[in-house]
């Protein structure tokens, strides 16, 4: 029986050239090109829709936040005005300080007015503490080179 590869043998071609020359004919479906392009166009449209949808969302978000931004500006303006009006508050604070210092003065007067028997022991203790502090200071000064 005649071998189907006799042609290659007769011509002395190698298997390599046989493989090169014997590319099988594949029937290409007639509609495939169009279906490929349709699919690609669909993908492209989808991408474009997604992109435009995102752009629309961005635009909407911007317009939606515009009143909010205006409101925030108003709040900021209010804060600035409040800061601007702070001197009045400073006055009220200084009044409070005056009141507090008056209260301290009053308490000192009360202490002065107390009999020495009441505050004596405490003042003795205070003197002792002061003496300790003085000695400590002297000791530290003496130890210095």
């Amino acid at each position: 029986m005649k071998s189907p590869f006799a042609k290659f043998r007769n011509s002395g071609d190698s298997l390599e050239s046989a493989l090169r020359e014997s590319t099988p004919k594949t029937e290409f479906p007639a509609t495939l090109h169009n279906s490929i392009m349709r699919a690609i166009h669909a993908v492209r449209r989808e991408d474009a829709n997604q992109a435009s949808g995102f752009a629309m969302f961005e635009g909407f978000a911007k317009t939606r936040w515009l009143p909010a931004a205006g409101f925030a500006g108003l709040v900021l303006l209010g804060v600035l005005i409040a800061i601007h009006n702070r001197p009045e508050r400073t006055t009220s604070n200084s009044q409070a300080l005056r009141q507090m210092s008056a209260a301290f003065t009053a308490s000192q007067e009360i202490v002065d007015a107390l009999p020495s028997v009441t505050v004596g022991p405490l003042s003795d203790e205070l003197d002792k503490v002061n003496q300790d502090l003085d000695r400590t200071a002297e000791f530290l000064l003496a130890t210095l080179p």
Partner: protein
């Protein structure tokens, strides 16, 4: 399609596609659709699947065109995508793909069986039947797509030396299967001794 397209290289068309030209990509589709379809239909062994996978491969290529480096060759990049699509497809349809291709009724004498049909087509049919998938893909890309070792290696994701071995084994297997039986008076190994030592580009 763009008028000056025939003069443009694939890589230039890819660059234009990256810039947003749909016409440039359509030209690329026209240039490669038959080749990709032939490669996939030979690998997939099912015409219906091949059409679907070819379409998926081009859609994927369009979506990924921004990742293509125009300094490189376009064909291996596209065939890499096509091959991956093919592999993914068969992974998803594993029960069907496990069906082994129909065997020749008399494996001892393939030459006799092949005689009834066109020998050119039969050579590749035989290759498809007897060679492992990767070997078949390697010889297809090398001999039909005329890709060099580096390009085949890129498509198959293997080192060049591995591809060299694959090609050698594929040719050896084919040559052995084409060897006539003792009963056959023709001796392919005598008439074509060089098939065992084919230099690789």
């Amino acid at each position: 399609m763009i008028s000056e397209a025939p003069s443009l290289s694939d890589e230039a068309l890819a660059r234009q596609t990256q810039a947003g030209s749909m016409e440039a990509f359509e030209e690329l589709v026209s240039r490669y659709e038959r080749r990709v379809y032939a490669f996939i239909s030979q690998s997939c062994r099912n015409g219906m699947d091949a059409a679907e996978i070819t379409q998926e491969a081009f859609v994927k290529a369009y979506q990924a065109i921004s990742q293509f480096d125009p300094k490189r060759t376009f064909a291996p990049w596209l065939f890499t995508i096509a091959r991956r699509k093919c592999v993914d497809h068969f992974r998803a349809m594993r029960p069907a793909s496990d069906e082994s291709p129909p065997e020749l009724s008399d494996t001892n004498n393939p030459a006799e069986l092949l005689a009834v049909e066109d020998e050119r087509r039969q050579l590749w049919n035989l290759a498809r039947r007897i060679l492992p998938q990767t070997q078949f893909e390697a010889i297809w890309l090398h001999y039909v797509e005329d890709m060099n070792l580096a390009e085949v290696a890129k498509v198959l994701g293997r080192p060049q030396t591995y591809i060299k071995v694959l090609l050698f084994r594929a040719r050896k297997t084919l040559a052995e299967r084409l060897k006539p039986t003792r009963a056959n008076t023709h001796s392919l190994s005598q008439t074509m001794p060089h098939v065992y030592e084919i230099p690789v580009r």
